[in-house]
């Protein structure tokens, strides 16, 4: 008997599609695209670099001849680009998970079964919260690292085929040993940053009698609208915007200094140091307490 592990497993069983198969399918798709690009590109493709038409082999050669720092920047940009779809996918997966996890069990009345077993409501809700912010992102991250690793293997083969030194050009430049810890740190901070959003979805999921997603979206929007309408201020709207822009600053803003990787890490560390993050965690805790309270008193929908 191990309650905590069992509770996490239970969430995984129910949402294996989103947590497990989605990142795997995504990785498979990205690698397949790479293989297609490599094979067809080698045969037919021409790409223009500095006004010169190049085939794929020439392009690799062209990149290999650049200074090391430039090469590293290119390879790391591509690797970061490869991890981006995973972050976006897991964001949607955990949002839909969060908005459904305390609603669906009331709707299908299975809550009566879950609550007939000796597991407290707080343990259940916390296990679900850990699933959203820990298990799901960890699995997505693992899949994105595996994808990056396989992508680098493909690149190694391509480089080998063109007599380009593999280690120096593919592995030393991409430096996955420093890339992966940085991405892990950035993801962990992003999840803390998203905690209030997920907490809010949990609260609505535990409260809504129907259409929790609609309620979760409409309530903040209506409140923000009412605020700007009647108080002529935009505090709430600003808060919402800040929350969504935080992790996406990589895409929206170009920060000139340093590599893409260090920009991403710095962006995450800035979030971590901000008061907003900690205020958000307090809000998340309040939402969770509310969700636990609601689950304790609620029967079926």
């Amino acid at each position: 008997m191990n309650t905590a592990t069992t509770l996490l497993k239970r969430e995984f069983w129910e949402h294996k599609g989103g947590f497990f198969w989605t990142p795997i399918a995504l990785g498979g798709f990205l690698l397949l695209m790479t293989v297609i690009a490599l094979t067809t590109g080698r045969l037919h493709g021409t790409i223009r670099v500095d006004e010169h038409a190049l085939n794929f082999g020439d392009l690799i050669q062209h990149l290999a001849n650049q200074p090391f720092a430039d090469k590293a920047e290119h390879v790391q940009t591509v690797l970061m680009g490869l991890s981006m779809p995973f972050h976006i996918a897991v964001f949607f997966v955990i949002c839909f998970y969060a908005v459904g996890c305390l609603y669906d069990e009331r709707k299908d009345r299975s809550i009566l079964f879950w609550r007939s077993l000796p597991v407290s409501d707080s343990k259940t809700v916390l296990a679900k919260f850990a699933t959203a912010l820990l298990v799901a992102p960890a699995l997505a991250l693992a899949a994105s690292f595996a994808t990056q690793f396989l992508w680098l293997l493909l690149m190694s083969m391509a480089a080998f085929g063109h007599d380009i030194p593999v280690w120096e050009n593919v592995w030393a430049t991409s430096a996955p040993w420093s890339l992966w810890p940085s991405l892990t740190l950035a993801t962990a901070i992003d999840m803390l940053w998203l905690a209030p959003l997920i907490g809010w979805l949990f609260l609505v999921s535990a409260y809504a009698k129907k259409a929790p997603l609609l309620m979760a979206v409409l309530i903040p929007l209506l409140l923000a609208w009412a605020e700007s309408m009647f108080l002529h201020s935009h505090v709430l709207f600003g808060l919402l915007r800040e929350r969504f822009e935080g992790p996406l600053a990589d895409i929206f803003e170009h920060r000139g200094e340093g590599s893409v990787l260090s920009a991403s890490t710095n962006r995450a560390l800035e979030l971590f140091a901000s008061n907003s993050l900690w205020a958000g965690l307090v809000f998340a805790a309040l939402c969770l307490a509310g969700a636990i309270w609601l689950r304790r008193r609620s029967g079926e929908v």
């Binding site: 497993k9 007939s116 029967g299």
Partner: protein, 289 residues
């Protein structure tokens, strides 16, 4: 022996209206108690209070625990089947076993597996693929493998066909009951549990109108198939209820001596269903006759 469940002035209010008006009862070990009443009488509310699923006023002790504040401990020793529909459809049978084994300290997995082997339920099937009867068997397998002191059943056989209903109660009796454990059951299918029960509680509009051991019930209530010429005499003895069967009148008496009733006609032990109708005062309130 200490009562497993003990309620004193148990009250429940929803909004402004009171649905339980302070009921008192005890459930002793080794009993099978039927809690019978029309919809909205407070049956499910009473069960929910016992299971810590709802708040209440008054005193309630279940296995010496307070259901509101000690729910997690309580549910280690109390098993509950709501009705057949509550097992999640996406869960696999093997996962259901894994889950209960993972969270319940008194679950004997081998026992549940033995039980399932005697059914046609496959371990890798999803619950959504099982028939309603199979889901009930699975739920029963899970619950009977829990070493619980009190089993609470709320309409456990709702929507099942008669074969499964019979099998359900047979299994329940064979596998579950011993002198230390009790069952509290609510159902609409009163006839089927008639011979199972050791105690009977009738609840009406939030009040217990009958709370008695079955032996005492059969002592106390007598049904008489009265000879037509003696109907007026029978009415003199203030019967609880009167109904027509095949052209003759059947009277139900509360606490009349058998000797005097025997002169009126043929004596019967009333069925719980007839007793129920009589006690509830015929048709439910608001329903035209």
């Amino acid at each position: 022996m200490n009562a497993l469940v003990s309620a004193r002035s148990l009250k429940k209010r929803y909004g402004g209206s009171e649905v339980l008006h302070g009921i008192d009862f005890d459930i002793q070990p080794g009993r099978i108690v039927g809690l019978i009443g029309p919809n909205g009488a407070g049956k499910t509310t009473t069960l929910k209070a016992i299971l810590g699923l709802t708040g209440y006023e008054g005193e309630l002790s279940v296995l010496g625990l307070n259901p509101q504040t000690q729910r997690e401990e309580l549910m280690q020793q109390v098993a509950f089947i709501a009705d057949v529909a509550v097992l999640p459809r996406w869960l696999k049978v093997s996962q259901a076993l894994d889950y209960v084994a993972g969270v319940h300290p008194h679950f004997r997995r081998a026992k549940a597996e033995d039980f399932l082997k005697r059914t046609s339920i496959k371990l890798n099937a999803k619950i959504g693929e099982l028939s309603k009867g199979m889901v009930t068997q699975l739920h029963l397998a899970l619950v009977l493998a829990i070493d619980a002191k009190l089993l609470v059943l709320d309409e456990p056989t709702l929507g099942l066909d008669i074969l499964f209903r019979k099998a359900f109660y047979q299994t329940l009796l064979a596998e579950y009951l011993d002198e230390n454990r009790s069952i509290l059951i609510t159902t609409h299918q009163v006839e089927e549990i008639q011979h199972l029960l050791s105690d009977l509680m009738f609840i009406k509009n939030g009040r217990l109108v009958l709370n008695s051991a079955m032996d005492a019930v059969t002592e106390r209530y007598t049904e008489v198939l009265v000879k037509p010429e003696l109907e007026a005499a029978a009415r003199e003895l203030s019967p609880l209820h009167e109904r027509a069967v095949l052209g003759r009148k059947v009277f139900l008496f509360d606490g009349q001596s058998r000797e005097s009733l025997a002169q009126l006609g043929e004596l019967h032990v009333p069925s719980i269903a007839d007793l129920f109708v009589a006690t509830m005062g015929g048709l439910p309130e608001g329903v035209a006759a």
